[in-house]
């Protein structure tokens, strides 16, 4: 007997919301990026609070606001950006505690407000959202490989009988990052690092960079002292997660989940993954610095 799925209806999708998990596999021979949740740390916490598998599909909401209405009882947890979150039940509004599990009754509406600190929230649900996999990931794509964002009226499916925790667990406040703190990005030197001049790399590690408005899941564009490269184009090669690319204008770009698979611009190295997750929670206007660290 197949279990019947329940639906959460998207009353308001927000500007950039979609299901995410750890990303695809065996996708790069196609030239398709890996995808996956931009902030794996918050994504993992949301699933962990519900005892979900660490690969369970969760809803990634960038900026918000987002409103979901649940058909059947379940339990959810929302971790990541700070925003006003309200549970509306039979006309009554209840505020929701961030980085905590919360039991949901049939008909409940969850309002996630615009992020005031940080950028991305992860809504996990008991048992994970149910979504057909494309190359091993729940991330929805159009026929030609673009991201399929959530739209008003869409339905997100889940198993209403998935086991829920008896208690509504919370992350200890110690575990919750401060997204206002200036971020220092640990750089592992590799790729063309040794072909940059000593002056260029010294400049990189002494400077403060500002995050530009056109930063997104593909990469974070930084503005600050430019990093000179005197050697022309390089042979195209695979681009690892966290690569710091130096294009002709000398302004560094940190490449993230939706980056192109290969590229011909020089790179000074790669940022540690945990710093990339934090970076994805920083907003345009915030500043970062680089620090040389080996793996």
């Amino acid at each position: 007997m197949t279990r019947k799925l329940a639906a959460a209806t998207v009353i308001k999708p927000g500007p950039h919301s979609l299901l995410e998990d750890l990303g695809r596999c065996h996708n790069k021979q196609l030239g398709l990026p890996s995808g996956g949740a931009a902030d794996i740390y918050a994504y993992h916490w949301a699933n962990k609070l519900l005892d979900n598998l660490n690969t369970s599909a969760a809803l990634e909401i960038t900026l918000g606001p987002c409103i979901l209405e649940f058909q059947e009882p379940t339990q959810i947890a929302i971790c990541g950006a700070r925003s006003e979150m309200t549970l509306v039940r039979t006309g009554q509004r209840h505020s929701m505690i961030p980085w905590s599990a919360r039991k949901i009754k049939a008909g409940d509406r969850v309002n996630i407000g615009m992020a005031s600190s940080g950028l991305r929230s992860y809504v996990a649900i008991a048992g994970g959202f149910k979504q057909p996999n494309i190359l091993g990931s729940c991330e929805p794509l159009t026929a030609d490989g673009r991201l399929q964002l959530l739209a008003e009226g869409d339905q997100l499916y889940y198993t209403p009988e998935a086991p829920v925790s008896k208690f509504n667990r919370s992350a200890h406040w110690h575990a919750i990052p401060d997204y206002h703190a200036e971020l220092v990005l640990s750089l592992h030197p590799c790729y063309q690092y040794h072909h940059f001049s000593a002056e260029a790399t010294a400049r990189l590690f002494n400077a403060t960079y500002r995050i530009e408005a056109n930063s997104n899941r593909m990469g974070y564009r930084l503005r600050g002292p430019n990093i000179p490269w005197k050697h022309g184009g390089i042979i195209s090669e695979g681009i690892a997660f966290g690569s710091v690319q130096i294009p002709p204008d000398g302004q560094p770009i940190v490449l993230l989940n939706d980056r192109q698979t290969i590229g011909g611009y020089p790179k000074v190295g790669c940022i540690h993954a945990s710093d990339c997750y934090e970076l994805s929670q920083r907003r345009p206007g915030q500043t970062v610095r680089f620090e040389l660290v080996s793996l």
Partner: protein
């Protein structure tokens, strides 16, 4: 320094390594990288999440939930040595040859006449020079299903446009420097468009769960363009 017989492994981040094969791209280096990718994937124990072959290097992403990175790198280094022994002994793999029907006509190719004028050649000569070459697939990237094919006849080479077009039609065939390629979807682009392909190298991504069937081309394959008439072309066109 040429790494030809001693490819070296460079660690890029917590879960990714890069195998350097050569300092310059050639048909030989492309084939070697493609062979090596096939070999390592065939002997993989589930620790390789992704293999990204390029014309002189191979990038591998490791699943560190399955295998500790250091063990995976050790294993790959060992297999790389085995591969080098096998590769010198056996014949190089011969990639599949793809014949692509193409319509070379200004209605679908806005740069066909400008390119002909630039090189002081007739359109017929452009068509002949482009379609008589058997190209090698060097790398796949930039867009899902976009294969960089080389090398274009030197009489046809042209740099990318100064101002990329905001909208290049899907299946457009373009030239940029020594490379040619097919746009798998409508996209902004700076390549010089000289024809349109009847075949889209990228299949519907949502339709199949089998990654192998989604992109027609693999690194190391060969591609030939065959000039067809407008009526033949509309018969052969897919989406």
């Amino acid at each position: 320094m040429v790494y030809d017989n001693q490819p070296h492994i460079e660690r890029l981040n917590h879960t990714t390594l890069l195998i350097h094969f050569a300092n310059a791209a050639s048909e030989d280096s492309v084939r070697r990288v493609a062979d090596c990718s096939d070999f390592l994937l065939k002997h993989d124990n589930g620790s390789i999440v992704n293999s990204v072959p390029a014309s002189t290097s191979l990038m591998l992403e490791i699943n560190d939930h399955v295998t500790k990175y250091s063990l995976a790198e050790e294993r790959i280094a060992k297999q790389l040595k085995e591969f080098l022994v096998v590769a010198t002994r056996e014949q190089h793999f011969v990639g599949i040859v793809h014949d692509i029907p193409a319509l070379y006509h200004p209605d679908v190719a806005p740069d066909l006449i400008p390119l002909a004028n630039h090189h002081k050649l007739s359109v017929e000569e452009i068509i002949q020079r482009h379609s008589q070459v058997t190209y090698t697939v060097f790398t796949i990237g930039f867009l899902p299903g976009f294969a960089y094919l080389g090398d274009v006849d030197e009489h046809l080479r042209m740099p990318r446009q100064q101002q990329p077009r905001t909208c290049v039609a899907a299946r457009s065939i373009g030239i940029a420097e020594h490379q040619t390629g097919i746009y798998p979807r409508q996209s902004p682009g700076g390549w010089n468009i000289i024809a349109r392909s009847a075949i889209n190298p990228l299949q519907d991504i949502g339709a199949s769960n089998n990654g192998n069937s989604l992109c027609l081309f693999s690194v190391g394959d060969k591609v030939r363009f065959k000039a067809v008439s407008a009526s033949e072309f509309s018969q052969q066109e897919h989406r």
